[in-house]
Every structure is written in C-alpha cells, then in structure tokens.
Amino acid sequence: MLHILLALSTEERHGYGIMKQVERESHGKVKMGPGTLYGSLGRMMEAGLIRESDKRVDPAMDDERRIYYTLTGLGREALSAELDRYREVVAVANEKRISPSAFADGT
C-alpha cells in the first residue's frame, strides 16, 4: 500500500503505470500482479486514500481510454505519516549504530 501511495505521490497514474512505477522505485523488488494491485486499489479507495480521476488515453500507449488514480488529501496525510514513522525507526537504528549489514553474518 505504501508503494502505491508513493507511486501516486508525484502524479496520477493508471493501473499499468502504477505497477511500473512501483517496480522502478523498488528496484524491481516489488512486482504486483493485476489481482493484487486492483485489490489494494479497491481497499485504498474504500479507505478514502485515493480516488478515480478521469478516463483518458495515455499518449505513450495505445488508444484505449484508461482510468487514472490520484491521491486524496487523506492519502497524502497517510503517506506523510507513514514516512515519518519510517524516518523515526531509521533514526533509532542510527542512534544504535545498527547498519543494514550488522546482522548479515546471522549473529
């Protein structure tokens, strides 16, 4: 859900656009199928985090009209709150001088 909020933070996107943006931003680590993506979009719409925007043609793709999704005010607040939470967690880890490689040897 956080990945989708992030993907929509800069501009509104259609389903395929969200998928590709999430894949790019996670450096290929997060890949969603259409079932997972639209299930998440449905729950996020119910929660008021995103909404459907207009239906239009993506000039970079074919001539099919696509539904675009955009963040709502609540979605922006949720993204901001979640990023703050992550920053705080990372700050605590930094204070403890814990680096990502600290437990690489399994100890």
Binding site: Y16, G35, L37, G39, G42
Partner: protein
C-alpha cells in the same frame, strides 16, 4: 500465432476469469484489470518473451485474489454467522438425542439410538457449513427468485446425496465401494456449474447433465445387480431436473429483463 491475436485471446480468457469477482468489484475493476493485463502482455511480446507462463502465473495470482475478495464479501455479510448458527442447530439434534438417550433408531450404527462420534459431527459440520456458503456465493450472483431457488435445490440435492451415502449408502450400505460412482454425479454438478460461473443458462445445462449422470449411475448399478435404491435415485434425479428447469426459467427471465430475447 501473431502476438496481437494471442494477446487478444488471453485477454478474452482473462476477462472471463474476472467475472468470478463479486459483482461490485467486477463492475469497478474488470475493465481496467483487463487493460492492465493486456499492457503486461504487450510488454512481454515487445521484449520477445513468451506469454504462456506469464498468463498462467497471472491467472493463478488473480484466482487467489478472487477467492480473497469473495471470502471478504461473504464475511462482510451475515452469511457466515447465519450458517454457523444453522450448522450448530442441526448438529444439536443428534447431540441432544445422545445426551438424553432419545430412542431414535439409527440404521447406520445398528443401534436403537443415535451414536455419533466426533468425526461424524466434524464431517457433518463441514458439509452443512460448506454447502451453506456455496449456496450464499451462488445465490449472491442470482438475479431473480427462480435462480436462487434453483441454486438452493442443487446445493440441497448435493448435500443430501453426500449425507445419504455417508450414512447408509445409496447402493448396499455406506461401506460399499460402488457408492463412489456418485462422486461422478457431484463432480458433473460442481464443475459444470463452476465452468458456467453459476450463470443460469450454463448452470441449467450442468444440472441436466448431472441428472443424466445420476441416471447412468443408477442404470449401471441396476444392470450389474448392485441393488440400487431406485426411489432415492428417482428423487435425486427429479431434484436435478427441477433445478435445471428453474435455472432455465431464470435465464429466460433475465433475457427478457435485459431485452435481449
């Protein structure tokens, strides 16, 4: 096969799969999901990568999500609670009969009273609850009363057939392996209705096929001298046919309502 033709074919199959989503989800997302699936297919063909493995993986992923959405919808309704209560009420009958030693003859156990073990209660509980939830799922797709009635009769007949076979057996007793032939009847009903996505026209054909399969099983049992219980077989065949006729009526009503007849 040309990529566009292959993509078009996979998209049609995918669109059919999407019809298994709950109606509100389907109305909202079926079209964009089919578009996204097509976009992903194009991305693969542009990169000269095969489609079959990708399509199968996506179908499996989407099927898992379809099950999740349908379960979520069922849990949101009161259907699960209702069927848990119905199951408990039905199971309370043999339980009370055992506790108060009410003398109801039980030919299955060969005793004068009900004598169920924990496994009997577990199996019956799963059967009733499963049949109830199957009814709720299929009935939620029904557009009219005839459709709901058809689903109810079909599910009740299926449950009854399993129940009778586990309790006393349609052929001989419950331990007679010939009763496994009735698995084919249930298979035809369930797979036929599922392939038709519980749509009335397809379900009608599936129920007629089930009635035919049941008749064939009874005739085989009669022909090889297994001693089938013909009145019981006739009852179940009548139930399958009644369900089929109601599905057909539901299909005709739906066609009239949509003005396509």
């Amino acid at each position: 096969m040309a990529p566009d033709r292959a993509i078009g074919r996979y998209r049609r199959w995918y669109a059919r799969l999407l019809r298994l989503y709950p109606r509100p989800f389907q109305d909202r997302f079926a079209e964009p999901m089919a578009q996204t699936f097509t976009d992903l297919c194009r991305e693969r063909t542009d990169a000269n990568r095969g489609l079959i493995g990708f399509a199968l993986a996506t179908f499996a992923e989407t099927t898992a999500q379809i099950m999740r959405e349908n379960m979520t919808q069922l849990m949101q309704t009161r259907a699960v609670i209702r069927w848990v209560l119905i199951t408990a009420a039905v199971l309370a009958v043999p339980l009370l009969a055992m506790v108060f030693k009410i003398g109801v003859p039980d030919p299955g156990s060969g005793t004068d009273g009900v004598n169920w073990g924990p496994m009997d209660f577990a199996v019956m509980g799963v059967l009733i609850l499963g049949a109830g939830l199957l009814f709720e799922y299929a009935a939620s797709r029904a557009g009219n009363v005839a459709h709901k009635l058809a689903v109810g009769i079909a599910v009740a007949a299926g449950l009854g057939l399993i129940w009778v076979n586990l309790a006393v057996g349609m052929i001989g007793d419950e331990g007679n392996a010939a009763n496994l032939m009735y698995v084919v009847v249930l298979f035809v009903a369930l797979v036929g209705a599922s392939i038709g996505r519980f749509e009335p026209r397809e379900a009608s054909i599936a129920m007629f096929a089930t009635a035919a399969a049941h008749t064939v099983v009874a005739v085989i049992a009669l022909a090889v001298g297994l001693g089938p219980t013909l009145p019981a077989d006739a009852f179940f065949v009548a139930a399958w046919v009644a369900s089929a006729l109601l599905f057909r009526q539901a299909s005709m009503r739906a066609a009239v309502a949509s003005g396509t007849k």
